[in-house]
């Protein structure tokens, strides 16, 4: 009797446990994508300025700082259990965590190099560095860890 009750209780609770975990993963994935979208926005904004299509050069440092803040958060975007659901992140992130954190490390280095170039205030230098930053961070990480989104 006691056992049956326990089993019943378990059966009743288990789905909610499952559901709350799913809910958490879903929230994390949504947040992760939103951060990536924010990163993309700052990146594109800098690109507009350095290509001479937006006159206010002072804005660059604002976007560079924002990118710095967002990049400092990169590893916390991929907690265990956030590999399922509506995500385009590849399972290699969780299968080989040391390799992934090396990639995060390299991405941050690429950002620091870009930041130093942007501090020069020269549009041409910044533009060149922005391309290298795109390849050395966004490109580098997406190559191994991001799937093509389904349209």
């Amino acid at each position: 009797m006691k056992k049956t009750m326990l089993l019943l209780a378990f059966l009743l609770i288990a789905p909610t446990l499952q559901a709350s975990e799913d809910f958490e993963a879903e929230g994390i994935i949504k947040y992760r994508k939103a951060v990536m979208t924010a990163i993309k926005g700052h990146n594109l904004a800098i690109k507009q300025v350095v290509s001479g299509k937006f006159p206010n050069h002072g804005q660059i440092s604002y976007h560079v700082n924002a990118l710095g803040d967002l990049f400092s958060e990169l590893d916390s975007l991929f907690p265990d259990g956030s590999d399922f659901g509506k995500t385009n992140a590849k399972s290699e992130i969780w299968d080989e965590p040391e390799k992934f954190s090396k990639t995060v490390q390299k991405s941050r280095q690429a950002f620091q190099t870009f930041k130093a170039a942007a501090a020069s205030g020269d549009l041409k230098t910044t533009g060149k560095a922005l391309k290298a930053f795109g390849k050395g961070s966004c490109g580098l990480c997406h190559k191994t860890y991001k799937k093509k989104p389904k349209k």
Binding site: K40, K131, K135, H142, K143, K147, K148
Partner: protein, 284 residues
């Protein structure tokens, strides 16, 4: 006095001899350098580097060891540096042409089409020769080839039949097609169809649906049928993608295409890039 004159004329003669030697040697040197420079361009256009280098594990250039995961199993790429024992250093030019042009090894074995000779077989002889010269000028690396890890039903012995059927379905480019630079770049050297064209159950390209996308490889449809694809991009945006990996919407390229951009298309000359884009635009 006479001795002096003889000395002068001997000097003059040796200068003349030296000069003519130099004159003869000069064009030979220049063509050798031209060949290597051309070979390097072919090497980049055909992206030999990315499959034959285990970049992810800091492998030596062209020493192989990169794992290609496919439904047929895991292929491990071989060493194609000029090391004579573990690489292809003891291959003759003829043997190299046979590998690229026929998918045959020096001992007469069939290669798996995970080595895209199905595209490279349409390269011109001259491009193959220059590529051979370039590869032979690279740094030799001693690194033995690990075996592939294939599914039980996959065997080299079946490849003869496969190649015969495939050659019938997907014949080599004609001389006319080779002369169309943009088409030659994407179909023979750049081998875009190897990922972007759907395949039949036997893994052969479906020519009727050239470049219409391969879902399993996540490679999108590059034809105007795909309205959310490059049909919607400007030529500048397409070039920016192929050079920097940047999508028009600000996202960055991922997966195998990131290798293509990193080791191949970003380095293409202006003319070749323009020819490729024109050729993609010409798809109905």
């Amino acid at each position: 006095m006479t001795g002096g004159r003889a000395g002068v004329s001997r000097f003059a003669r040796s200068v003349l001899a030296g000069l003519s030697l130099w004159l003869f040697a000069q064009p030979a040197l220049a063509t050798q350098q031209d060949t290597l420079a051309r070979g390097q361009r072919i090497f980049i256009l055909a992206n030999c580097f990315s499959c034959h280098t285990d970049s992810e594990n800091d492998g030596q250039p062209l020493a192989g060891g990169r794992e290609l995961k496919t439904p047929f199993g895991v292929f491990v790429t071989p060493n194609i540096t000029p090391d004579p024992s573990s690489g292809i250093g003891d291959w003759t030019e003829q043997q190299f042409l046979l590998a690229l042009g026929e998918g045959l090894s020096p001992t007469g074995e069939h290669y798996f089409p995970s080595f895209p000779y199905t595209a490279y077989q349409s390269m011109t002889r001259r491009d193959m020769r220059d590529l051979y010269a370039y590869l032979m000028s690279r740094q030799p690396v001693v690194q033995d080839n690990p075996p592939h890890r294939l599914q039980w039903f996959v065997s080299r012995y079946l490849l003869g039949g496969w190649k015969a059927v495939n050659r019938w379905l997907n014949p080599r480019l004609t001389a006319e097609q080779q002369a169309d630079r943009g088409y030659y770049l994407r179909a023979a050297l750049g081998h875009c169809q190897e990922c972007h064209t759907p395949r039949n159950m036997l893994g052969m390209l479906d020519r009727e649906r050239d470049l219409q996308g391969n879902e399993m490889l996540e490679a999108p449809d590059l034809t105007p049928r795909n309205q959310q694809g490059i049909a919607d991009w400007s030529d500048d945006e397409l070039e920016e993608f192929l050079r920097d990996g940047l999508y028009p919407d600000g996202d960055y390229v991922g997966g195998h295409m990131a290798d293509v951009v990193e080791h191949s298309t970003q380095h293409w000359s202006e003319q070749d890039m323009a020819a490729l884009i024109a050729s993609l635009r010409a798809i109905p």
